[in-house]
Amino acid sequence: MSAAFHLAARYVLRHRIQSALLAGALGLVFALPLCLRVLIEHAQQELRARAAATPQIVGTRGSALDLMMTALYFKRENLTPLPFDALAELRRTKSATAIPLHLRYQAQGAPIVGTELEYFTFRGLKLAAGKQLSRLGDCVVGSSAAKQRNLQPGGHVFSSPEQAFDMAGVYPLKMRITGILAPNGTPDDEAIFVDLKTTWLIEGRSHGHDDLKKDDSVILKKEDGNIVGNAAVRMFNEVTDANLASFHFHGDIATYPISAVIALPNDAKAEALLAGQFARSKDKQLIRPRDEMESLLAQLVRLEGFAASALLLTATAALFVTALVFALSFRLRQREFATLEDVGVSRLSLITVKVLEILFVGVAAVGFGLLLLLLASEVAPHLLRWAL
């Protein structure tokens, strides 16, 4: 046995590149369906957990899937905005706690989530450093977003313009970082949170500028008690303690846009009542993320079935090809085996040599496959976050 082991090991080592390629190919085709399963299982768990933790979402009528993915994963799906009044309307029912979400802007590639402090309590988000939002223009950064961009409390981050060459578009706002959130393994880690009003400030619905009453040279005209400034008026792109008072809103706040509202019904009855109420609405919809996610996952599982069948077929083909490779290799080495037999090596020993060679490649393939599986389970959380 030891002589056969030695001979087989020497042959495999001598042809290590070919053996490694064969083992790698085998390991890959057999590990792929398992890796796929690991990735999908992890994705399912994470998607289900996030959906289950969010009882109801209200948005404008349209794609329920887009609404869910936007509200849960801060995707920019260009949802038709809800008027801010919808939030008040929901609160007036006294059936649920309502948390607004404004999800249109980004800062250095991270989504800016405009919301209220209740969101942090609802998601169980804790501060790892710094303080909570205290005034207009403040932001709190998710752990991963802060780490990737090296952001610290006391620092600043600019909101990104929607279009680089749109001079008349949204102007970047310099936001003060007041705190960094502790990691919680959800998309909240990747986001930058601001007060809802700050998102309206980024949107241009509110602004701050020099006091027109103090400098006549910047006044264009005065009519009906309103003062209109000229182009020389200095607009503020940062909220500071000194200029905070100059910031003001124009128009009716009730019509200001929000992307969605997370509804946390008081009880099962309230949940059913809200569902019924929004079912009758022509312009709004209420979705249960848990149900939407299940139907999405059902599609995913069906697709996985197809993919797994295809991969299994590939694996079977690979197995046949490997068997052929070994058969051809042994045939090419017929003279070598005949010599060993002539010298006096038993047939059993020769069979052992062949079996051991196959076993070595097989063990290497299993090892490689396990490595891939380990890698898949390591990257699964990041992969999902990246894919979404």
Binding site: S2, A3, H6, L7, R10, Y11, R14, H15, R335, E336, T339, L340, E341, D342, V343, G344, V345, S346, R347, S349
Partner: protein
């Protein structure tokens, strides 16, 4: 105890099935410590005779005794075990394993017998020195020249000190000087240990070195 001193062949008859070729050896004796040269033209049946003597082929009739063992009466597994223990073979094409080193190739019979000990290694060193291949012992045989490979094949045939050594043209790839060294060594080894050497050769210059010479023409072949 078996008498493993010589080769005795009586009324040997062999023919390949479906072919006209046949070989007949009425009587052939090679005593222990003696060397026999088998000479003759190509295709005369020299290699076939070696295969018969080593039990790789079974005669149609007659007896082949290696010492007290009538090899043609043994089954496949018994012949294999006998070869591994008592026979040293030098093949025309060396039949070395390219992926093994010189040491590993030489010790192969010992390895499959499970007795790679100090004495086997000492014998290997002695043989490699005498055959001038001691500087290559850790090299793979694929890195050696034809002549060096042939000498490795000779060392492998002798390392387990077999009672019977059968060599099929072991000097074919060697220059005359190296060829003579190899034949000298085979003869000296056989005489020292009282082993029986049968060697196939084309080279008439080597024939006087042997105790006995048999020309294939002496046997009835067709």
């Amino acid at each position: 105890m078996s008498d493993l001193s010589g080769l005795n062949v009586t009324d040997l008859h062999f023919a390949y099935s479906g072919e006209g070729f046949r070989v007949q050896v009425p009587r052939l004796n090679v005593s222990g410590g003696k060397a026999l040269a088998l000479a003759g033209p190509s295709g005369a049946g020299k290699s076939t005779l070696l295969r018969l003597f080593t039990g790789l082929l079974t005669p149609n009739a007659g007896k082949i005794c290696l010492g007290s063992t009538q090899i043609d009466l043994l089954n496949h597994e018994q012949r294999r075990a006998f070869r591994l223990k008592h026979i040293g073979l030098v093949f025309q094409d060396f039949a070395l394993l390219d992926y093994l080193t010189v040491t590993e190739n030489i010790l192969l019979p010992h390895q499959f017998r499970g007795d790679v000990g100090t004495s086997a290694r000492a014998k290997m060193h002695e043989l490699t020195e005498r055959l001038h291949i001691d500087q290559y012992v850790n090299k793979r045989v694929s890195q050696l020249s034809q002549g060096e490979r042939q000498r490795v094949a000779v060392a492998r045939a002798l390392v387990h000190e077999p009672q019977f050594v059968f060599a099929d043209e072991p000097t074919a790839s060697l220059d005359p000087a190296r060829g003579r060294i190899v034949v000298d060594m085979l003869l000296e080894d056989a005489r020292q240990r009282g082993a029986c050497l049968v060697m196939v050769t084309h080279d008439p210059n080597l024939l006087p070195m042997f105790d006995q010479t048999v020309r294939m023409e002496d046997f009835a072949t067709a």
